[in-house]
Symmetry: C2
Subunit: 190 residues, 2 copies
């Protein structure tokens, strides 16, 4: 297959994921009907389901894509920076899309054992990305030494989960920056 | 009305709330049909809706009751202790009931502006209970002095929200105790 076609396929796939993410965020998984997915992506159902077997696969791909993007940022800038970005852009389509996906994932984990099994690997990978970054920081001497790295990872994860819930409850984010400073200070060498 | 009748009415009301909480936790708001509410409380729909106008009012009463219980514990033992208790009894009916209510409240806040308006006062009251406790601790000299009390309150709230999300995602709670130690240390005078 010539290279240009693969590029085209990849671009189309990203286009579908972006539209689907917005659609899931706005209407929830159940409310994201095929018609709404068509409207949001500007593509026909034939085009959409040429790339993804069904709505279930499409949602999983959106969630996987979000997880991959977060892992990338965590490896580069750390989880505290991910949270700072979210607070700074809490009303943006990107953050609303991420939040919608998170809430749907959390609902699925409670209600769909098959999904929970598939998702466990993704979840493990994000945790590992955070661990890798913390290990690097510990080696560089910027991390506190009196607490195991996995406890620091769990503290950051708890803060991220808290941020998701905070945003989900529509609470304002005006005063969260100094809270993230405290979280960051809690993992650093003092 | 003679005192015994009022006691009886109160007891009946508590009985309905306990059954309804379990029912909402197990089936979600939509899934908690009148028939299921009857089964879970062991009372007829007539008896249930003698005390509560409709399912909506019943849910609000359950959520209010949870909020009042939490406020009571926060005033007495602080929010960190509330979280420690939740971690220790994460599989118990009480914690599952609280979590079910939290998730339903968070869904409502996103989708139901009328509910959001009614809930704002309750939410404010819990925040105030936490503030009161922190102010007392600051007066007693056990709290750090270099950060405003409202920031410490938000840190604790973020941790509580994170714990709710953590439990909602079915993650294990084995390693959360040392994380709560870090949170507690982050608000105390070092």
């Amino acid at each position: 297959m010539p290279r240009v076609s693969q590029d085209h396929l990849d671009a189309r796939r990203r286009e579908i994921l972006a539209g689907a993410r917005a659609c899931f965020a706005r209407h929830g998984y159940e409310g994201a009907t095929v018609r709404r997915l068509e409207e949001e992506t500007g593509l026909s159902r034939g085009a959409i389901f040429h790339h993804f077997r069904d709505k279930e696969s499409l949602f999983f791909a959106v969630a996987e894509d979000d997880a991959a993007a977060m892992m990338e940022t965590v490896r580069r800038d750390g989880l505290v920076q991910v949270m700072r970005d979210m607070v700074a852009r809490s009303g943006s389509p990107e953050v609303r899309g991420w939040l919608g996906t998170q809430l749907e994932v959390s609902r699925r984990l409670r209600t769909d054992p098959e999904f929970a099994k598939r998702w466990a690997q993704r979840s493990e990978a994000i945790g590992q990305a955070t661990m890798d970054r913390l290990e690097t920081q510990r080696a560089a001497g910027t991390l506190r030494e009196d607490v195991p790295v996995h406890v620091l990872r769990q503290l950051l994860q708890l803060a991220l989960d808290g941020l998701a819930m905070h945003l989900a409850m529509g609470r304002d984010t005006d005063h969260l920056a100094p809270v993230l400073d405290l979280i960051e200070a809690a993992v650093r060498r003092s």
